[in-house]
């Protein structure tokens, strides 16, 4: 087991449900989106945990919860040993210096009328860091760090390509003393040649600055390349979590297996396997029992009625599936 340090980020039993629909006169028709349901994981400092899953699995909500851009219903979020859910506005502001986010669409996140230089320095202004001169020096340093020419400080977002804008997004996220960077589909909108550049930049920054990443993505190939650990989400729950090598070599959950089989291999005339049939159910009132049971090729009676518990299948490797609980001796099956 790996217990070299206290995790930098520890999330325990985090839950967020959204109420949707009008609800009628007595509120009886209210539906609930179980966006994030009882999610637990931790990330050691300097490591990357990738959260993968398809639309509606809750991965984006999870990132926003960790930043407290949305408030959770219940559960704990500890960053460097401090429970941040209880922090007041002022204390939270301090924490935000250390936790930043890079989102998918860098154009949407940059003010079109603000110069790139101003955009990158904005966090320094908001947090009143340093003198004007020190901030300008920091700007030069940041442009350098993300591989943009200094002249870009005087440009507007529309004058930049998608990849360059994403570099600005990263520079801005690193302007303060950032320790934890949440990347929400940060390379998904980029063309493949540019995507590789940004992936390499994120890798370089991680090593140089001991950054910890929560890397949210739908792209299993990018995840295999960038992650140390991987959590697979399905309809609001983590269904499997494991060290990267373990997950790709021995996926335990039928959903993880299906996800991996569905990815096109870029080999001639090799078509991806049709691993699962059917659609992703709506996260509003998800299926009973195991939420994957409507699409699972191995569905059993118990799957329809009883949610599977987390089962340990290897070092740091667990999955929620009745098949695993059956296959392993009862003593090893434990809830975390």
């Amino acid at each position: 087991m790996d217990d070299r340090a206290i995790p930098f980020l520890r999330v325990s039993n985090l839950t967020k449900h959204f109420q949707v629909g009008r609800g009628g006169l007595l509120g009886r028709n209210r539906s609930v989106v179980r966006a994030v349901d009882n999610v637990s994981f931790s990330i050691a400092r300097g490591e990357t945990l990738a959260v993968v899953g398809e639309s509606g699995c809750g991965k984006t909500t999870l990132g926003r919860l960790v930043l407290r851009l949305i408030e959770a219903d219940s559960g704990q979020i500890e960053i460097a040993g401090t429970e941040i859910r209880g922090l007041d506005h002022r204390a939270m502001q301090e924490f935000r210096r250390r936790v930043q986010i890079v989102i998918q669409d860098p154009f949407g996140s940059l003010n079109p009328r603000m110069l790139i230089g101003q955009a990158i320095m904005e966090p320094l202004d908001i947090h009143s860091v340093g003198t004007a001169k020190a901030r300008r020096a920091r700007l030069a340093e940041l442009l350098d760090l993300v591989g943009l020419p200094q002249s870009f400080a005087a440009r507007f977002p529309h004058q930049l390509s998608g990849g360059q804008r994403q570099r600005v997004g990263i520079a801005r996220a690193l302007a303060l003393e950032t320790d934890l960077l949440i990347c929400d589909e940060a390379v998904s909108a980029l063309d493949v040649s540019v995507q590789a550049q940004i992936v390499n930049l994120l890798q370089k920054l991680k090593h140089e600055r001991q950054l910890t990443y929560l890397f949210i993505s739908h792209d299993m190939a990018i995840v295999r390349h960038i992650a140390d650990h991987v959590a697979v989400m399905y309809l609001g729950e983590i269904v499997e979590i494991a060290p990267k090598a373990q997950l790709f070599a021995h996926p335990a959950h039928p959903y993880t297996q299906a996800l991996l089989k569905s990815v096109p291999r870029a080999r001639v005339h090799e078509r991806p396997e049709l691993a699962i049939k059917g659609d992703i159910p709506s996260p509003i009132d998800p299926p009973s029992g195991c939420r994957f049971h409507t699409r699972c090729p191995h569905v059993m009676g118990i799957c329809r009625s009883t949610p599977p518990a987390r089962t340990t299948v290897g070092p740091d490797h667990s999955a929620n599936c009745h098949l695993l609980a059956q296959a392993l001796p009862a003593a090893k099956g434990q809830t975390a």
């Binding site: 398809e54 040649s193 590789a196 992936v199």
Partner: protein
């Protein structure tokens, strides 16, 4: 060759306000085969398809072509009415985002009925019966219930199935699929690609598969053309492109995306970005980003040159390979 291609394009160029978006595109697509048109954003792949379909506004876009032959007819010389009949009845298109292509205030069944009534002159009852068959054909579960639902009530994958049902309602000879699975989740993407593959076998239609995703092309295309900055820079059979790519851009693209089934240390990248139409360099368009750049690349603008049977590339290097082959080809 004995069999004429279903679609044959030569010297297709499109400009917009003086900027050349597409230059000298050529491709041949055989009946029952899939031709992959691959490129990054702004490479001109969608514009080429729109030009072939004559869907670009003539007041804004200038389209020129030596020929666009479809099933023995020259598309540019057809009258407006005749062209409209070809679109829909003989050539269909599906797009990335079915939500914008479907009418949001009309039940999906009605939208298929509309197509059938316009193009096949069916009466309402027959068209509805046929629409239901179409929805079942594209494997929509509970089709008899779904037929009266609106697009917003369906998932992304179901909406794309409806789009496909509309597209194949008249049993077209050619289907142009422009990023058909880009907006879909990976498990759903696999289903839609497999559906297109099965429908192709049943109908014998040719598919022009436009995508940025090399993985999708490798599995489903018979031939591939790679576009960069408005030009086709390499074309060949899928094996030629994926196993013996000649153009440094194609080689770079193939390496830049990490494989899902094996580990790589550092991702090879292509430096720089795709040039905009007004900033394309004089010599080889890929020159400034090319790892094999030589002085001559600044002065020559290479066009597609034959290298091997059907395998062509717009680069002076493949010729160089032949010339000083033993020096550059490892374990030759």
């Amino acid at each position: 060759m004995a069999v004429a291609p279903l679609l044959s394009v030569r010297g297709l160029s499109v400009s917009y306000g003086g900027a050349a978006l597409v230059e000298g595109v050529e491709l041949d697509l055989m009946m029952g085969k899939t031709h992959g048109l691959v490129g990054e954003s702004g490479s001109g792949k969608s514009v080429s398809a729109m030009a072939i379909m004559r869907l670009l506004e003539p007041k804004q876009f200038r389209v020129e072509a030596q020929r666009i032959t479809f099933d023995g007819r020259e598309l540019p010389s057809l009258g407006t009415h005749e062209m409209r009949r070809v679109r829909g009845a003989e050539i269909s298109m599906i797009f990335q985002e079915p939500m914008t292509a479907l009418n949001p205030v009309l039940p999906v069944g009605e939208q298929i009925v509309e197509t059938l009534r316009v193009h096949q002159k069916l009466d309402r009852a027959t068209a509805r019966k046929r629409a239901l068959e179409m929805l079942e054909w594209v494997r929509i579960p509970a089709a008899d219930r779904r037929i009266d639902e609106y697009p917003h009530q369906l998932s992304g994958g179901m909406r794309q199935r409806v789009m496909i049902a509309i597209a194949i309602a008249c049993q077209p000879k050619l289907l142009i699929a422009d990023e058909p699975t880009t907006a879909l989740d990976v498990t759903i993407q696999a289903q839609i690609l497999e559906l297109l593959h099965e429908l192709q076998r049943e109908l014998g239609m040719g598919i022009l598969l436009i995508t940025h995703d090399l993985g999708v092309v490798a599995g489903y295309a018979d031939n591939v053309s790679v576009m960069y900055a408005g030009r086709i820079i390499e074309s060949g059979t899928t094996s030629q492109i994926f196993e013996h790519a000649l153009h440094p851009y194609t080689q770079g693209l193939l390496r830049s995306h990490p494989p899902v089934d094996r580990d790589v240390n550092e991702l090879p990248t292509i430096p720089g970005t795709v040039p905009q139409p007004h900033e394309r360099p004089n010599g080889c368009r890929f020159g400034p980003r090319c790892a094999h750049f030589r002085q001559i690349c600044d002065r020559t603008d290479p066009r597609l040159m034959g290298f091997e049977a059907r395998h062509r590339a717009a680069c002076i290097r493949p010729k160089g390979y032949l010339f000083d082959g033993p020096l550059e080809v490892s374990d030759g």
